[in-house]
């Protein structure tokens, strides 16, 4: 991949921001207000006026459209608006990649990637609605009680654990690490609510092989990331965080109905990760800290393997609590608490945490972190993954 045809090092994150994070239904603000607050916080962090924004990218059927945002925020002109096709949070890193691509292409100069999600206002992902007849793909699943996101993806985890002899202890370690990190992060909804191994073991099954603490939260909140060209970023701040790679996609027939994707037991990251590392000119060993989207811990397990952070063979040895916690673990994971314990911000919170690690501003800082990875949406048909780094990582 030639340097002149890639976003690598040519775009930087100049600002990150989020609303207050709430448990589902506890936000005093409507979803659009949460988003405005997140974008204003990101602009303040970047030191720019909101009217400088000229593009928006989002994903997953976000309800807050760019024309309304542009009007509310006083944009001089909306030059670029983009929505990534995917389900779940598979587009969180992809939206940042789309923003970066627009900037490199010259279609926009200051693009905000965002996600706003008030499950209290608009209904829960974890509950499946009515009783009227349904057709299409749903007709092959919902009448059999395969309804919620957890029920949609539990069987993939069953198959991976079975095929490779991986222990559920790996999933437990992923959950415990997230809650451990959240205890140092005042933004986290689970701040002050630690999780013990005993409480994990005693928690109820949601759908085997997922216990309660293997599943993400349901929250109200919004998050935003401001991107500009590397040149303009260096004028704004001394510590721009460069986009080193951003890739999205889905493997062969990942969208085939009712679990008929060709390679079944995958998080959909095998090809995305390969392209990502090639673009970033880095390998898994160069990544100092990993933010891996947790819809369910089983998806994290699969993502980490498919990104090359461990193998099917050594997952039981590598994915332990001690290895996964900052600052001393060999694979610090989800250092804000992530979707499990900070906030289910559909993955954009994980992107923000990756940026904070590179700036040295994490509440669970990995000393000297130069390269961070944020992946989004394991197991959904289209996933995405992002690598960011500081000037030293850019070389």
């Amino acid at each position: 991949m030639g340097n002149d045809l890639t976003v690598r090092g040519r775009v930087a994150v100049v600002g990150v921001g989020e609303s207050t994070y709430y448990k589902r239904g506890q936000s005093p603000d409507p979803e659009f207000v949460l988003l405005l607050k997140a974008i204003l916080a990101a602009c303040a962090d970047a030191g720019i006026a909101p009217s400088q924004i000229d593009g928006f990218c989002s994903y997953s059927n976000d309800r807050n459209d760019p024309p309304r945002l542009a009007a509310a925020l006083g944009l001089r002109e909306l030059r670029f608006s983009n929505m990534q096709w995917t389900s779940g949070g598979g587009g969180a890193a992809g939206a940042v990649g789309n923003a970066a691509a627009a900037i490199v292409a010259g279609n926009a100069e200051c693009v905000v990637a965002f996600r706003s999600l008030a499950q209290g206002q608009f209904g829960r992902f974890g509950q499946g609605g009515g009783s009227r007849p349904i057709s299409g793909e749903y007709a092959y699943q919902i009448p059999y009680g395969k309804i919620s996101p957890a029920q949609s993806y539990a069987m993939r985890t069953t198959r991976v654990l079975w095929e490779h002899g991986i222990s559920r202890d790996t999933m437990k370690a992923i959950a415990l690490a997230a809650y451990h990190h959240a205890q140092n992060n005042p933004r986290a909804v689970m701040y002050g609510r630690p999780l013990t191994p005993e409480a994990y073991d005693e928690s109820r099954w949601i759908v085997e092989p997922y216990r309660l603490f293997d599943c993400c939260q349901e929250n109200d909140g919004a998050a935003a990331v401001v991107l500009m060209s590397a040149e303009r970023a260096r004028e704004l701040r001394v510590d721009p965080v460069y986009v080193l790679g951003a890739q999205q996609g889905g493997p062969r027939r990942s969208g085939a109905w009712a679990d008929n994707n060709t390679d079944y037991a995958t998080s959909s990251f095998k090809h995305v990760a390969e392209r990502l590392f090639a673009q970033a000119q880095l390998g898994p060993a160069d990544v100092d800290v990993v933010q891996s989207y947790e819809n369910f811990t089983g998806g994290v397990l699969m993502s980490l393997i498919e990104h090359g952070f461990c193998t099917y063979e050594n997952a039981n040895e590598v994915l332990t609590f001690d290895n996964l916690v900052a600052p001393k673990g060999r694979l610090p994971l989800n250092t804000s608490g992530g979707n499990l314990a900070e906030c289910y911000m559909h993955g954009l919170g994980l992107v923000i945490e990756a940026v904070r690690q590179i700036r040295g501003e994490s509440s669970n800082q990995v000393p000297g972190a130069k390269v961070a990875l944020a992946s989004a949406g394991p197991m959904v048909p289209v996933v995405s993954s992002l690598i960011v780094g500081n000037g030293e990582a850019l070389g």
Binding site: G126, Q127, G128, G129, G130, S131, R132, P133, I134, S135, G136, E137, Y138, A139, Y140, Q141, I142, P143, Y144, G145, K146, I147, S148, A150, Q151, A154, M155, R156, T158, R159, W162, R204, W205, I206, V207, E208, P209, R253, A256, W257, A258, D259, N260, Y264, A265
Partner: protein
Amino acid sequence: MTERNHVLPPGLPAPAPMRDGLDAPFWAATRRHELVVQRCNGCGGWQWGPEWNCHHCLGFDIGWTEVEATGVIYSWERPWYPVHRALAEAGPYVVLLVELPHAGGVRMVGNLVGDPLQPFQIGDRVRAVFEDHDDADTPFTLVQWERMG
């Protein structure tokens, strides 16, 4: 089969054929207690879920073939937490992903018939059980699975 022999309680959404007619033959066949799968008349390739063209040769001449209503457990899950009000008192139940090796390895989702805590594992052979819902506003039949011998 009487209502009380259904795997799950009443109240879940009923399956309805797609308005464009794509999968009407499948749901009609289940009413006759036949399992049919899409098969390409051009290249012989199998396909599931249904689509308007064949993903192997991209041709549009695609038909429906009755297959032996047996398969192999490819994966499974056991929901405990009820996510739909109809399931509030249902207790745990098993959802299977069943592979049909004799139909190109296509996979179908259904429930395991019988005790949800019965011993079983990936690789076990299963046979289809056609679960009639004759009392529904528009009668329909689900394809469930029971373990073989």
